[in-house]
Symmetry: C2
């Protein structure tokens, strides 16, 4: 825990393995040096079974593997995690459990998702959602603005290099664990892995993400048991529908003063003094918020 | 072809099937109605084989299926496309070929990609790249600014509802085919499908996308034979590396006056008068450009 910032895990923009300096040209034809995000394969095994190769910036491979398998429901009935082995040279991470696993089943069903890549959710991510109702929780609008302020001013790979998603596990107005990755789902999975490892409570948490509020983001958040999901990006209809179904407070398009809550508004306490909140300059044209 | 805009295919924000009006609350606690993007499954078959279920806004299913299969290399040696059947009720599209297909091979290898979702590129997307060298082509900076201006002011689902990616096939300073989708790769695949259907030339085209310039975007662009890829978002290191390898002109972080070219700058003619280009207001904090 960083005493000043209150972060348990914050981004490390100085981490030389996560970005690379590339030389190119700017709009004037002048040479420029730009730090760009690394993107490297990480192959995830569950016991002896190869599950998937993820493209990731490469930090926290153990959390990524653990969180991915958990969010895919692949650890159900798998017994205790006995060991997680990461081999940086082979770019392989192996999660070992002491029970049988049902991943063959899971691998059968594939759904290409609405994320930015050709995506796969293994079959029962959705099925697992039936009957899920997220716990009651407090959510103050003053927290939301304070979280956005802290997160947006936290030194990050995004501020250095762009082209990266961030997801932050928060409690009240305090960001706790800030993960970044080239795939926004990797960032969420790394947080899920950390929560599992640390046996962190979820009912008192808020998940802040830079990504869009699609069905898959809502499903992951629900599986993680977190009752509030906040983003500066927008919504999909199915994301809103699922959030209403599981009782998730879904807040999007949060920029400056503005935000919209399209599900679970009953948790919100409107205690912020909007006169005190700095608004973002209105912007022209596409803002790439997708 | 729209005589005024020059578009062959432009977004249709009035298309009622692509968005849904959802009622929620804004930052003041006042009720707001927001149009949100639809996200629905589309299951793609190649002949008798189910390949994948995509989450898509649902327009141009035939182009999406055709472009997806083509960009995955699944149509190689498959002979001619004999028929594409779309069943809106079943949300299924079947691409039929008169030859054998190698999709079983392709389905074996999975790579979770750096897009925003749990992603899958089938094995040899990368292998297919060996030896690919994109053709010589002209690229004027005046075209880039004119394209950005036209595209950003084109009525679109993004401007209505946000949370959607856009990809535009362009020629010179003229946008021709503007596709939008919840998955940015769906938008690219729809363009690939259209190009295949129309047997459109690629050497004289420019691909403009709102998405990040990751390895997978570069690979798709290279497979489509398009020598220039432009985005308002940023780069990944591997995306830049692959672009340099195949001789793709890679331009990113294009906002207002500014852009960066990190590969293939030799194609660029710096003919724009920057004094005439309106810049975007500098913005504070995260802009969600990922």
């Amino acid at each position: 825990m960083d005493e000043q910032s209150g972060y348990i895990i914050a981004p490390d923009p100085s981490h030389t393995r996560l970005t690379r300096r590339v030389v190119g040209f700017d709009q004037t034809g002048a040479e420029v040096a730009q730090d760009v995000i690394e993107e490297r394969p990480l192959t995830i095994y569950l016991n002896a079974q190869e599950i998937v190769t993820a493209m990731t910036i490469g930090d926290y491979p153990e959390y990524l593997a653990l969180g991915f398998l958990r969010n895919q429901g692949m650890l159900e009935g798998a017994g205790a995690i006995t060991r997680i082995e990461y081999d940086a040279e082979l770019e392989v991470v192996v999660v070992r459990t002491d029970g049988p696993t049902n991943h063959e089943e899971k691998l059968k069903k594939k759904t290409r998702t609405s994320g930015c890549a050709v995506g796969t959710v293994f079959g029962d991510m959705m099925e697992g959602l039936e009957g899920v109702i997220l716990p009651q929780a407090e959510l103050r609008t003053s927290w939301l603005y304070e979280l956005a302020r802290k997160i947006n001013t936290t030194p990050s790979l995004y501020l250095n290099a762009g082209a990266i998603h961030g997801t932050v596990l928060c409690k009240g107005d305090q960001p706790l664990v800030y993960m970044e990755d080239v795939g926004r789902h990797n960032a969420v999975d790394k947080i899920a892995g950390w929560m599992m490892q640390e046996q962190a409570s979820s009912a008192d948490k808020i998940l802040y993400t830079t990504g869009r509020l699609t069905s898959e983001m809502v499903i992951k958040c629900a599986h993680m048991g977190i009752p509030a999901l906040v983003s500066r990006s927008g919504f999909t209809a199915w994301g809103v529908e699922l959030a209403q179904q599981v009782g998730l407070t879904l807040i999007g398009r949060m920029r400056g003063k503005r935000f919209q809550c399209l599900a679970g508004a009953e948790r919100i306490t409107w205690d912020a003094d909007l006169a005190q909140i700095k608004d973002e300059p209105k912007k022209s044209g596409r803002k790439g918020s997708a």
